[in-house]
């Protein structure tokens, strides 16, 4: 469990700190990115990422652009992504699902809920 790495893509330092504290306490390694473009660079770098937790509304490249780009890149099944956002609109959730997202969490989040999602998704990733 401790060797698995989670990429957090969020423009909010506060949210990255919240997620990071929760997951580090559970033994995960963390990589952070401040927007979708940085997130794409991390994924393309080949870092051994078990899963991604990604905001939607971000500058430079938003979370759905991130999701659609890495899906287009991947020759194999892409790294699993869970969206973490304030937005609960069915339209955006459907778009994320079509782009291959594995889940959707609406902020503010409870730490135990986030951890259960990461354990389920990162556990399936098999890294």
């Amino acid at each position: 469990m401790g060797s698995k790495t989670v990429l957090i893509v969020d423009d909010s330092l506060t949210v990255r700190q919240q997620v990071s504290l929760t997951l580090k306490a559970a033994g995960y390694n963390i990589i952070e990115a401040c927007n979708g473009r940085e997130g794409i660079e991390v994924v393309r770098s080949g870092a051994p990422i078990a899963m991604v937790i990604c905001d939607v509304n971000m500058p430079v490249a938003n979370g759905l652009e991130f999701l659609e780009t890495i899906k287009g890149d991947a020759p194999a099944p892409p790294v699993p992504v869970v969206m973490l956002t304030t937005d609960g609109s069915p339209e955006l959730i459907a778009r994320a699902k079509r782009a291959g997202a594995k889940g959707w969490i609406v902020k503010p989040f409870q730490s135990d809920l986030l951890l259960s999602a990461v354990r389920r998704i990162a556990g399936e990733a098999g890294l």
Binding site: D11, S12, Q17, T86, D87, G88, S89, W104, V106, K107
Partner: protein
């Protein structure tokens, strides 16, 4: 909300969103009614987010003391001034996001901008569109927080009288959905 204008109703919905956020943060916030004098704050923070739909464009501006944002912060033991500025943005982001979710039930779909924050000193919020200066004001343990909703509504727009069931399917805050 019968007999109220679009602006008043949209402001009431926003105030409810804020009350929910404070409650979830474990804070007791009381809405302060009446005409408000400007907050006389030093070392305060302000955060702003624009948004719009096909029927109106709008913005939310939040103004409060650094101390208050520190108390609202989800990780209060670790905050630095940089953290507070970032948290002010995230607070506005969560407010506007919740507002967007609520308005879906009124068949209003908002596109959101990216929040910004700034240090503020002796700032007075006022409207370029309305002849009034009366923000939504909350008292949190006696410390005031002002929230200003600026609205530019398309002529002829009428907010639906009642929300549709369960916010027209918007996923509730704190929810997790697996695909």
């Amino acid at each position: 909300m019968a007999g109220k204008s679009n602006e008043e109703r949209l402001e009431e919905i926003l105030a409810t969103c804020l009350e929910e956020l404070f409650k979830e943060a474990g804070l007791v916030a009381q809405r302060v009614s009446g005409e408000h004098e400007p907050l006389n704050l030093r070392e305060s923070l302000t955060a702003f987010c624009g948004f719009g739909s096909t029927d109106f464009r709008a913005s939310i501006t939040v103004l409060g003391s650094a101390d208050l944002f520190s108390r609202l912060h989800p990780l209060p033991a670790t905050v630095t001034p940089r953290d507070l500025a970032d948290w002010a943005c995230e607070f506005v982001n969560q407010t506007v996001g919740r507002y967007r979710n609520r308005l879906l039930a009124y068949n209003v779909s908002l596109a959101l901008g990216v929040p910004q924050s700034a240090l503020a000193e002796n700032v007075r919020l006022s409207s370029s569109l309305r002849n009034s200066h009366n923000p939504i004001r909350f008292s949190i343990d006696g410390v005031m927080l002002d929230v200003w909703l600026e609205l530019n509504i398309r002529p002829g727009f009428q907010l639906a009288d009642n929300p549709a069931d369960e916010r027209a399917g918007a996923l509730r805050e704190g929810s997790l959905l697996f695909f």
